[in-house]
Every structure is written in structure tokens, then in C-alpha cells.
Symmetry: C2
Subunit: 419 residues, 2 copies
């Protein structure tokens, strides 16, 4: 029940134990094509360039940034937590000029702040995380796409912490590049990074395309003028591998492809909307329970991700000792956070395979016991969560006939039980 | 039976279906420590800095080169096949000055040629693949270590194609950096890259150490003067994650760690020497059988890897049609090669879980049938392989009392059945 990685869906674990097949076996290339189509549905996109980067979530981030940004180009990075700092750092490492826009950890940006910075700095790219697990908040993205399109700025987001558990719409929000990982709401292990690129982004990358000397055929450009500063993360080469030419790059991580494919199959079978609603429901119940236990919810709750809840560690309580008891005595893991929030907040995840009623109620029951042993007069968490579930069931009955969500956006609705 | 990836050992597949644990769970950190110790035995090293890079084999290559080489430094790359070209290209991409030393595909370098180039170009690093699967040959490395040490040159090799199936000795050969992958003789899936660094190399990398802004504590250097040009491949950061400080970098790819750990456990249980001998035995039988079928063995057989055999595709035979029939009618995959050898040679792998008597004999029996249908009067391959096995058994009896290998090096011995 931490902020991720979480325990994977057993279907995903079983998928990884399937026998390997050769990388040009028709079964394998068929799986690759199927995986691309599945992730188009997960990202909500028609992008042809939808594929896996073989590495953990930050491998996808670096691949997107090093392939899209030439040295010296400007990238604007709004930072509202640890992972904004990561995007800025990766931008610097790939040789871009990085403009940071910072806000305190616990809030997100008003789109107008970002628009003003776009006008002031005229970047090539806007790079922003969607949900920053370090603070539990999600930056609203839907207004940023048109701003970027008007200014010919590439719009990139990382959705590792949010995808599958929060509303996301790559095409509707006009994203040029989106990256993610499996280990949060997608219910898989870390180690594969699904990514999607708009046609516009694919053209930018295609202009930097080169072919390795050891496999080049006549007419291939072995050294392009703006060659990408990484071979492993050269998305032009990786697109040649995933595309009809099937030009060898790395050897695809077959077992991780099986995992990524199964994660998306599970999500598409459930329905992406239904999965988001499930995260909203159980995340809301958890937040209600934690608040009732007397824990102060951290950050702007109107913009909290559905799938992770931050609470301030009560004064006088040893946060690591509580976490250690939860893990060693009950087998339940929760997290603290990074940087200014390290030792200040606990983060409780309700995501992927763990976004369930039994996990929420058990965690609250156990946490109450551990808090009491640490001198906190806690109680009522389970009851508050059960009330939250009952309220959601009533809302759902009343709302029958519409889409079941009422008029609010999910991010407004999910906060209701805790206000 | 291709040049890799090959089908994994079922134990490795089962290991990947184990439940995930949190990245700071004592079980997980215990597995990390155990995996480091196992790979010290596989690489034959006492290097403290022995760990996994989360990506395919070329992720390990890029991590080593980008972390060890500063922009503008010179790297000497002897090239005897596709993967030498890859090292050179990655060297260029990380900003190094690359000096290429090329030889025709099908031979390796005399150490004196490399020594002369070291003196002429005075590089910071010598980067050479151990076994280049594209040509099936292995470069002898044992003489190069002292040459590098005398000249204060960092000595790096990639052993993706060779480790576990050919004699290798990281410390005895004075290597500063060695990288590998799981998908060849280690009998696992692609997607994790074990790597080991000498103390000297670890110091070079440590001098470039920085800490991410989002997780820095007081006194941490957030931006080092020679900061490594990649975050994902920053081995200083990855060492902080694998070391006692356990400073968060990426989220370890847990299932791939389980796979890498199981690959090494299997190898260490068998004994690394015994595994090399097994590859020599079955590779030798396969080579004898292929030669008897009338196929010309490709390249300098005195320096062939134990685990992969190249043969020239007979004149007038459609190499891809033969490979297609083997795959679709018999479920047996073999490879062709890259660049100048694409469509010119077939490559037959005998490695990892596939280095067995039944796989060798079945492949030869089936290949004979397919060759005949393509008009090649082939025969006797199975008999030659059986003779090779019988000869090896007699040698083994005669040699009882010594180490069973006679006086020759494995690479000399393995060629015997085909001369």
C-alpha cells in the first residue's frame, strides 16, 4: 500500500513466466503490434508511434527528452515535486537549456502561470509531470495543450504515477509525447516504459534518424547531422525496430513485453473509465478513513491523484518506526516521501491490483492499532471508509441514467469524502 | 538455436512469476546484495561495484561508456564485427573522440596490433567486445589488461555474447569494466545488464557523482562539475542505490532482478568452469555436424566462441527460406547475420539452456532434411556429432587426473573436431 511499486496483478506475474520466442518470430512481432494497439487505448491516442522503451519509467522520460531536444534548445519545466526536478535534471543532462518554474510542494500550477512562462521563455518543449507521487498531486493538463500548439511548443508529460487511475487523454489534451511505467496503476512490475508520440513529435525525431554502421544497408544515413546523444534511447532507431522495417536495435526484453501487454489487456478488459472510477472510489474511501483517524491530509486535495494519499506524520510520532511495524508485523508497506517531505508525510497508495475494498479496510484497521501503540488516540477510520463506500453506492444509484459520475470532474469528486 | 536471444531456463521463467516486494523491503535489499555476490562469481571478480543496469545488454554498454568517458576523451575501439561498430557509435554519442581499429569480419586482432594503437593514440579507454556474435569470434583479452594498466588506460569489454559459455576472468585479465546480458549463455530473457567495475573505474565514476535535487540532503553535490551526460545511466547514482546508502534512483525492475539472480544461481550451482566446458562440448559437436553436412565453417575457428557457429550459406540456396522452414515446420530458429554477412552466413547457437545433446542432434537431423529439400546433398551431420561426443568422452577418460581439458585452451580445443 505504498506509493508504488506495488504488488503486481497475478495475471501479470503469470504472463512473465511464458516461454520466450525469437525476436523476429511472427508470434513475437504479433505481440509487439498488439501491445502497440493496446497502449493506444490506454493512452487514448491514435498515434502510430506507440511502443515500449526497455527500462524503468525514467528510461522512457530520458528517451523522450534526449530524442526530442537538441543540445541548446530550451525546455520549460514546471516543478511541483521531486519528479519535476527529475525532468529538469534530465533536460540539463541531454544538453538543453532548462527553465524551471517552481511552486511549493503541495500545490499545482494555475495554467495561466505556465502560459506566462511560455510567452516569456519561448521554449521548444514544455515538460511537466502529470501526477507527482512525491506530493500526491496531479497537474491539470487539458488547458496546456492548446497553449503549446499555438506557440509551436512540444508538449510532453510523464504519467508514471497517474495513468490508469486518473483521467488521461493524450489526443484530447494535444500531447506530443507521453511516457509511463507499469508499477503504479497499471499493476505490473517496474522495467518497461510505454510511450506514445504524436505525428509531429515523430517527425522531429525522424529528422534525426541514423542507422548503425554494423547493420546499415546502401542509402542508410549512418551519422545524421543532429544525431541523438544516446544510442539506447534513440527513439528513431527504436521506431525502426517497432515499425514495418523491423531494423534490429536492442534485443527486445521479451518477458517485460509480456508483462506490459498483460497490464494493458487487464486494463482494457476492465475498461479504462471503469479503472479510473475504481481508483477514485477506493482512494476516496482511504482518504476518508485516514482523515477520520485524525491524520491531516497533505496538499491541495482538489488536485490529489486518485491513487495516492499523503498525510502529515503526527507530531511526536516516529514515522519510520510506524512504517517498520506495519511492514514487519502486518506485511503492509506504506511510504514516506523525498526532499522536504522526507519524514514529514506518509504516503498511502491505493492503486492497480491494490485498489480494492479489502486492502483499504485492512490497512485502516491495522494503522489504527499501530498508531495507538505510538500514543495516538486514533479510531473510526474503518467506519469512515465504510461510510464513504455507502455514500458512493447511493450516489451511483441516484446518478443512474447518466454516466455515474455526476457533473464534477473525477478530481473534484474524489475529494468529496474528505471535505 | 539462434545466436540469441534463446529460450530461457524454465527456472528463470518461474523466478519471474514470484510476487513483487517493495524496493526497500529487507527481502528486496537482501536479494540485491545476494545478486551482487553471485555476479562477482560469474565475472570472477572481487569488485565491490558489481550490480545490474535495468535495461537490455546495450543499456549496460552505454552506462559504462557514458559514466567512464568525459566528452572529448579518447576511446580506442578495435572492431571485428557489428558490436565493435556499436561500441564506437556509443562512444561518439557520449561525446568521446573515437579511434577505430578495424579488421575484416571473420578474424580477431593480434594483441600487438592493439598495443601499437594504444601507443599511437594514447586513449583514456580501450573498449572491445569479447565475443562478437555477428562473426561468432572472441577476441583474446588476457594480454590486453597489462598493456592498459601500464599506460593508465581504462580497459572495458562487453561479454553479452560470451559470458558463461567461454573462459572469462575479469580480475585475472585486469578489466576495469565488464558488461553483459542475460539472453545468451546465462539462459535468461533480455532486459537486465549485469556489470562490474574495478575500484579504479569506480573512483573515476565517483569523482563525477551528483545527487538529484529532489532527494538531496544537506552537503550533497546536486550538480557535479563533470556530471555524467545521462541520468538513467549515471553509474555513480546507481551505485548509491545499490550501496549502503540506498539512495533512490530508478525503481529497480524487480522481476528482472529475480531473473538475473536465478540465472546466476543456476550458473554457480553448475559451476562456471563446468558450464564453459558444457558449451565447449556441445558447440564442438554442433560444429562437427555442420561441417560434415558440407557447410563451410565461417571465420577463424581457433578463435570461435564455444556457443555460436557460423557457416556459409551454400551457393544457390535461399538462406531465409531454409530458416523459415526450420522455424515454421520444426519450431527451430537459427539466424543469419548483419551488414556484410547478412544473407551470407547462418549462425547456429548452442548456448545456455539449449547447450544440450538433444538440441544439437535434433537440429542437425532436421537441418539435413531441409537442406535436401533445397537441393543440397547433405548427410552425416548427426553421426559426426555423435563421434565428437564419443571422442570427448574418451579424452575425458584419458585426461582423468588432470582438469579434463588437456593442455590447450578451451578455444583451441573446441576447434579440434572440425579440423
Amino acid at each position: 500500500m505504498g506509493p508504488g511499486p506495488i504488488n503486481a496483478d497475478p495475471r501479470v506475474l503469470r504472463a512473465m513466466s511464458a516461454a520466450l520466442v525469437g525476436q523476429y518470430d511472427p508470434v513475437m512481432t504479433g505481440y509487439m503490434t498488439e501491445t502497440q494497439e493496446l497502449y493506444r487505448r490506454v493512452f487514448r491516442t491514435a498515434n502510430d508511434a506507440t511502443l515500449l522503451v526497455d527500462g524503468t519509467a525514467r528510461a522512457g522520460i530520458e528517451a523522450a527528452m534526449v530524442s526530442l531536444l537538441k543540445p541548446g534548445e530550451t525546455v520549460l519545466v514546471p516543478i511541483f515535486g521531486r519528479f519535476g526536478h527529475l525532468l529538469a535534471e534530465i533536460g540539463e543532462r541531454v544538453g538543453a537549456r532548462v527553465v524551471r518554474l517552481e511552486t511549493e510542494w503541495g500545490r499545482v500550477f494555475d495554467p495561466a502561470e505556465i502560459e506566462a512562462a511560455l510567452d516569456e521563455h519561448r521554449p521548444r518543449m514544455l515538460a511537466v509531470v502529470h501526477g507527482d507521487t512525491s506530493t500526491t498531486l496531479a497537474q491539470p493538463l487539458q488547458d496546456l495543450g492548446p497553449m503549446c500548439r499555438e506557440r509551436d511548443v512540444l508538449f510532453y508529460t510523464d504519467t508514471t504515477a497517474s495513468l490508469g487511475g486518473n483521467v488521461f487523454d493524450a489526443d484530447g489534451w494535444m500531447l506530443d509525447a507521453t511516457t509511463t511505467g507499469l508499477q503504479k496503476c497499471l499493476a505490473g512490475p517496474s522495467g518497461s516504459s510505454p510511450i506514445t508520440l504524436s505525428d509531429r513529435a515523430a517527425r522531429v525525431i525522424g529528422a534525426r534518424r541514423s542507422v548503425e554502421a554494423g547493420i546499415a544497408a546502401e542509402g542508410d544515413a549512418v551519422g545524421a547531422p543532429d544525431r541523438i546523444r544516446s544510442n539506447y534511447f534513440d527513439l528513431a532507431m527504436i521506431l525502426d525496430y517497432w515499425g514495418p522495417r523491423r531494423l534490429n536495435h536492442h534485443t527486445e526484453a521479451t518477458s517485460m513485453l509480456y508483462a506490459a501487454r498483460e497490464c494493458a489487456r487487464i486494463l482494457v478488459e476492465e475498461g479504462v473509465d471503469a479503472a479510473v472510477e475504481r481508483h477514485r472510489l477506493h482512494g476516496g474511501a482511504m482518504a476518508a478513513g485516514l482523515a477520520e483517524l485524525g491524520l491531516e491530509l497533505f496538499g491541495d486535495q482538489a488536485h490529489r491523484m486518485n491513487n495516492v494519499i499523503g498525510v502529515r506524520i503526527p507530531d511526536g510520532v516516529d514515522g519510520d518506526a510506524v512504517r517498520g511495524e506495519l511492514l514487519m508485523d502486518y506485511g503492509i508497506e506504506i511510504g514516506t516521501s523525498f526532499g522536504p517531505l522526507n519524514g514529514v508525510v506518509w504516503r498511502v497508495g491505493v492503486m492497480g491490483y491494490n485498489a480494492r475494498r479489502d486492502t483499504v479496510l485492512t490497512t485502516l484497521a491495522v494503522l489504527e492499532q499501530v498508531l495507538r501503540r505510538h500514543g495516538v488516540r486514533a479510531g473510526g477510520g474503518v467506519d469512515a471508509a465504510l461510510d464513504s463506500y455507502a455514500g458512493a453506492a447511493r450516489d451511483s444509484e441516484h446518478a443512474s441514467g447518466d454516466d455515474g459520475r455526476g457533473e464534477g470532474t473525477p478530481s473534484e469528486l474524489h475529494a468529496e469524502p474528505v471535505t
